[in-house]
């Protein structure tokens, strides 16, 4: 692999140069504000659909879905179908009316619908909030890929990728990126589909792999190669956790002395006695190559008073499963003794060598993985069902609430084209998403070592690594790395355009200096792009420990509780008032935001709270209560303030719904 290490780098450089080059080429053709913000509203259905798909397929779709399928199996399949189904609802209820209303940005719609410049502020706030939330996983994607293929530090990858895109957007605006994003859709489709067919030929097909898993539902895949890995330390919790299976003893080789901050049972079993001392042992042979598990003698490693365990350097460490007892009596289930193993938490970054044949750490059993309500939702009673519904609501409603996607509908010539575009987008996305679970399935079976140090987010990049033909492996890694780059470059560009547009057009052009000329607004767009790009990179540094696809799910949840109710009711209910829309958006959106942020802090162990599992579920997946809450508040407050329904509300409804031929539609800003 190493002799071809330059190949993936070459692919990444090529896609970056192509992106910047095309951006610059297209920029020379961009003239005036309309071109800059909405590409002159003249993009054809096919290229607009490619561009929307290109913008939408982010690091979460390219790397995150495969990773989440690998980690959680069946339950993760809701993510891609949710991402795709969101477009169906966008098509059914929002795409046509929104385009017909004819505004530059969502805040334009918000203001135009209620004749209220004040309302614009609420709308802009959410463009920025959702945007920043969505940039975090993109940045994590950039950092992760650079760590994998170049060995760069995480922050350096973010810095380089972030700066390149920020400059590209600052120079090109929307016209520059429409063209680039259309190209990037096809690049990503190629990168997700072609390599997986080659890999299926080499490792085993999707159906074969699934069949093997059907054979024994209680088993966990074995690690197929001697694997050196790096475990994270306590500051990157929960990435420092290695949870072992009780199937058989696990051996680890530790080069440098290390500290286990804490060990605890890997499964919590009610009413069981505390785990016995001495499950962790060190062999007396200092050299790994001379080690023989039968001849070796072991010393028990004892727990220190603070609960930690010292692992000596250059030793093979053995961790034995133990029998679970209750008041000294062995616990049995189906007349077999119940066994348990331990969960190790490393204190500092530690190099660990896992010998071939180990049962993959942190991995669910085949049954838990393949069947619904596995590790992603695994809690008792109705909680998994509610979790699933909440996730569905977040993803389906959230797609219709992403400002950077919605702004793209304004680049359609008319409402009819907007609908046809959405249809084309759904086909393009569907083809892409059918491929993603194949990656997750193959990665589980053939590269389970990624479970061990919680780096499943690398599945798409690393899977080709074990091919016998190193040249082909390097080329495939190059293709998927380039695809991942295309993914976060295009999504991050789109987010930057939409957020910088909000600052330049809405905050500066409408609130601060309404007399601003086109040139001044374009100047402000550039400054805003640089400023927002910088903040996004800083947020990216903080996002290291969270699953990419989960973070995107959170951005969707906030969009679902704020923009979706505004657009749905704003387009279809004449009676919605500014007060109602503001109250619903602020309460629904901000409550979900705080629920999610609190959950993240609990997960990172910054916030220490003991909460009921149901409560935690509602915090992790707020859409199930936040979306109805937001809708209800909008309805009730609007009823209470019915005197403030805009005088020409009916005319506005016609502008949203009447076919263009009827003559009600007009562009908010003519060009």
């Amino acid at each position: 692999m190493t002799e071809y290490g330059w190949i993936p780098i070459l692919f990444v450089v090529l896609i970056t140069v192509a992106t910047v080059g095309m951006g610059l080429y297209a920029t020379r053709k961009a003239k005036g504000a309309a071109d800059f913000f909405v590409a002159g509203r003249s993009v054809s259905v096919m290229s607009n659909a490619s561009a929307i798909s290109g913008e939408y397929l982010s690091a979460a779709s390219f790397m995150g879905v495969a990773a989440l399928v690998m980690k959680n199996g069946y339950d993760a399949l809701w993510y891609p179908i949710g991402y795709a189904a969101g477009y169906l609802f966008l098509l059914l209820f929002i795409a046509g009316p929104l385009r017909r209303f004819g505004a530059y940005t969502i805040p334009d719609f918000a203001e135009g619908r209620f004749d209220s410049p004040k309302f614009r502020r609420t709308a802009v706030l959410f463009v920025l909030l959702i945007g920043f939330f969505y940039t975090m996983p993109q940045m994590k994607g950039a950092g992760t890929v650079m760590v994998s293929i170049l060995g760069w530090p995480y922050w350096l990858g973010i810095l380089v990728v972030g700066s390149v895109i920020t400059l590209n957007v600052a120079l090109g605006g929307m016209k520059g990126i429409t063209f680039v994003q259309a190209f990037q859709y096809w690049a990503k489709l190629f990168a997700i589909s072609v390599p997986i067919f080659i890999l299926m030929g080499v490792y085993g097909s999707y159906t074969e792999t699934m069949n093997t898993m059907h054979q024994d539902l209680t088993t966990i895949p074995n690690i197929l190669h001697d694997s050196p890995i790096v475990m994270k330390g306590k500051k990157d919790a929960p990435l420092n956790v290695m949870s072992l299976s009780p199937m058989r003893a696990i051996y680890l080789y530790i080069t440098d002395a290390a500290v286990l901050d804490k060990i605890s049972p890997s499964k919590k079993i009610k009413g069981s006695d505390p785990m016995p001392e001495g499950v962790i042992q060190a062999a007396d042979v200092p050299d790994r190559m001379q080690y023989d598990s039968r001849a070796a003698r072991y010393e028990k490693l004892m727990t220190q008073p603070d609960g930690s365990i010292l692992l000596p350097a250059h030793r093979m460490i053995r961790i034995n499963p133990y029998r679970v007892t209750s008041n000294g009596v062995p616990v049995t289930k189906d007349s077999k003794p119940v066994r348990n193993s331990v969960k190790l938490e490393f204190r500092d970054e530690t190099k660990v060598f896992i010998p071939i044949g180990a049962v993959a750490m942190n991995a669910p059993t085949n049954g838990a993985w393949m069947h619904p309500f596995g590790p992603l939702t695994s809690k008792e009673g109705y909680i998994p069902l509610l979790y699933t519904y909440s996730l569905i609501i977040a993803l389906v409603c959230g797609t219709a609430g992403l400002p950077h996607i919605l702004v793209r509908f304004y680049t359609n010539p008319d409402g009819k084209a907007a609908k046809q575009t959405t249809l084309a987008v759904m086909v393009m996305l569907g083809i892409f998403y059918v491929c993603t679970p194949i990656w997750g399935t193959l990665a589980r079976a053939y590269m389970p070592v990624l479970y061990a140090n919680n780096s499943t987010d690398n599945a798409v990049i690393k899977l080709p690594m074990y091919m016998d033909n190193h040249l082909v492996a390097a080329i495939l890694i190059g293709i998927t790395s380039a695809g991942a780059f295309a993914a976060f470059m295009s999504t991050f560009s789109g987010l930057l355009v939409s957020m910088s547009g909000a600052v330049a057009h809405d905050i500066y052009g409408k609130m601060i200096k309404p007399t601003a000329t086109d040139a001044e607004r374009m100047q402000m767009f550039k400054y805003a792009a640089v400023g927002i790009g910088t903040v996004s990179m800083l947020l990216g540094f903080a996002a290291k420990d969270f699953d990419i696809a989960k973070m995107v799910g959170w951005a969707f949840a906030i969009g679902a509780a704020s923009y979706f109710p505004l657009l749905l009711l704003g387009s279809w209910w004449r009676g919605l008032t500014r007060q109602g829309a503001t109250a619903g958006m602020l309460i629904g959106g901000l409550l979900s935001l705080s629920a999610i942020v609190s959950f993240m802090l609990i997960e990172k162990k910054i916030l220490h709270l003991q909460l009921h599992p149901l409560m935690l579920m509602f915090m992790e997946q707020p859409a199930i209560w936040a979306v109805p809450l937001s809708l209800l508040i909008m309805v009730f407050v609007s009823k209470a303030t019915a005197k403030d329904i805009p005088a020409d509300a009916t005319l506005k409804m016609l502008r949203l719904h009447a076919p263009e031929e009827m003559g009600f539609s007009k562009n908010y800003i003519e060009h």
């Binding site: 069946y74 399949l77 809701w78 179908i81 795709a84 189904a85 477009y87 169906l88 609802f89 098509l91 059914l92 209820f93 046509g96 999707y206 159906t207 074969e208 699934m210 069949n211 059907h214 393949m370 069947h371 619904p372 309500f373 998994p384 069902l385 699933t388 519904y389 569905i392 389906v396 009819k416 609908k419 046809q420 959405t422 249809l423 759904m426 086909v427 569907g430 083809i431 998403y433 059918v434 679970p437 279809w572 004449r574 009916t650 005319l651 409804m653 016609l654 719904h657 009447a658 076919p659 263009e660 031929e661 009827m662 003559g663 009600f664």
Partner: protein, 137 residues
């Protein structure tokens, strides 16, 4: 831009309401119908998984039934539904693209097509006229 000689925005509030009603009612009915079909399947699947897990987890080929539905079959379903929606929705738009036709017929006035929509839309016959008789389809 298409040429519109009369400023439609100057019509009376009542006429606007009538137009909005005519345009939105059929579109929303279509949208809700298509959404209902999809939601029935999407929201029904978790229930099937929860209450009929052995049925949902039965092996179909190399997959489980529920994996096959969620991981593969739902995508083409979204294509079929959206293709149907787009064509039906375009048909509705074509049928009510002429405001004079909608208002004229409703108000019992003569139609004066003026460069827009010379053809009397089929929608008038099929929908507005039969509305009073209580059958909307």
């Amino acid at each position: 831009m298409s040429v519109v000689r009369t400023d439609v925005t100057k019509l009376s509030e009542e006429q606007h309401a009538k137009l909005a009603h005519a345009v939105m009612r059929r579109q929303s009915k279509l949208s809700i119908g298509v959404a209902a079909i999809f939601l029935f399947i999407l929201l029904g699947l978790p229930l099937l998984n929860h209450f009929a897990s052995s049925f949902a987890n039965q092996q179909v080929g190399s997959f489980t039934l529920t994996w096959l539905i969620l991981g593969v079959l739902l995508y083409p379903l979204t294509w079929i539904l959206s293709a149907y929606y787009v064509s039906a929705s375009e048909k509705i738009e074509a049928e009510c693209s002429d405001w004079r036709a909608i208002l004229g017929h409703e108000a019992g006035e003569d139609l004066e097509p003026e460069g827009v929509g010379d053809v009397k839309p089929a929608f008038i016959e099929s929908d507005i006229l039969t509305k009073s008789e209580g059958s909307n389809d």
